[in-house]
Assembly symmetry: C2
DNA sequence: CACTAATTCACCCTATTTCGCTATTGTTTC
DNA sequence: GAAACAATAGCGAAATAGGGTGAATTAGTG
């Protein structure tokens, strides 16, 4: 028996969910609330396995509420259900600790499947959301691995790495066992290749769109 | 009619997939290969909508093959199917451009559903994989968003932002309409709060574990 | 009102960085 | 073997950064 709580401000939807859960086999609705004002005490009194969470709600939104739930009831799973397809929401929901993200266009049986899926250790997502998650993942983790590292030579890369570490020319020279003038030369060449004119700018560029 | 190519070194599995696709309605197998040696010419001669890709294969592995496919046939979707649950493989597969990642324990009908799902713009994942993707996403993208921004004041944040942009003290002073000595003061305070001793180090730290 | 924090500015001095030009030694490429 | 490039190194000038010390102004707080 999977115990489910509902947070959804739309009265009609909330009651539909409640009915759906209570009539379906293997599910039970342990609470249905229109907002997250008393979320923590409510879940303390009526604990559940999974929370079906709306994002757009008056007062505290679903993302904030999710954080709160994971802080106070880390074992409780949160399944986000919303009309928002925006990357920002998907991103924030995952980071807040959500275990799934489904769109409101999902069919009734789809909701039950998603809840069962989450309860079984999965992270149900509407197909389009899954694709977005993959894209976000790729874009944010491998910004662009295809850039030529600006044709920096090995030695230049080493120097740049040390610059990123905040070292002075003198220190870098000592660590690479070369003269300080050599470092000066390398830095000049690095600046030219990165089209920058200061150490801070180089470090910024190096971190933002390169390895290091 | 969804056209599917199979890359799978296990003869028995390969033929099973082929049979499954050819007997199922709405699918057609346009090729089944035991390795990726002639992948590009093979897909040129027998193009397809989706590639069902195994990871563990002699010669080129499925991840490398996926990259190759996305480079040469960006429109072709790649569905990874493997026995590997390891984060490293999931991570690499997504970054290589895969559109889904399913485990070999999936049922026959599960394969068809996954292929149809991918074809419809989704990214099918075995429940456990979906959960891992969420975890990886969270761990890699928001290492620590809860840090106090080191108690920098508003003005200090502005100055730091400009430092990150590679500006000189003089320029920053001009942009904030204050004297250059004021900027020096702010920078000194910023360095103290961040526990750094140079602009490059401050920029590095600012980008790595803070806003900006 | 007294206290504190934030913001602003000044002066001084040294260290470091940036950028100009030049040059030698290997290694790889054509 | 000439040409190109990487890595090394040097010199010198001008600009910038970094650190010490001190201080006035404003805003907010108990």
């Amino acid at each position: 028996m999977i115990q489910v709580s509902i947070f959804e401000d739309n009265k009609h939807l909330r009651e539909t969910f409640q009915l759906l859960l209570d009539t379906a086999e293997g599910f039970i609705c342990t609470g249905a609330y229109p907002d997250c004002r008393d979320l923590v005490p409510q879940l303390e009194v009526n604990p559940c396995d999974i929370v079906l969470m709306d994002i757009e709600m008056p007062g505290m939104n679903g993302i904030e509420a999710t954080k709160l739930i994971k802080e106070n009831f880390p074992e409780t799973l949160v399944l986000i259900q919303t009309v928002f397809f925006e990357d920002e929401y998907i991103f924030d929901a995952i980071c807040a600790g959500a275990s799934g993200y489904i769109l409101k266009s999902t069919t009734p049986v789809g909701y039950l499947e998603a809840i069962a899926n989450a309860n079984a250790g999965g992270s149900p997502m509407t197909p389009g959301i899954a694709r977005r998650v993959f894209e976000l993942f790729k874009n944010n983790l491998q910004p662009q691995l295809a850039n030529d590292t600006y044709n920096l030579t090995n030695q230049e890369k080493k120097v740049l790495q040390q610059l990123v570490d905040g070292k002075s020319y003198k220190l870098i020279a000592a660590e690479l066992f070369v003269a300080i003038d050599t470092i000066k030369s390398h830095v000049r060449n690095i600046y030219a290749k990165l089209h920058v004119h200061s150490g801070t700018e180089a470090v910024s560029k190096a971190i933002r769109d390169k390895i290091v």
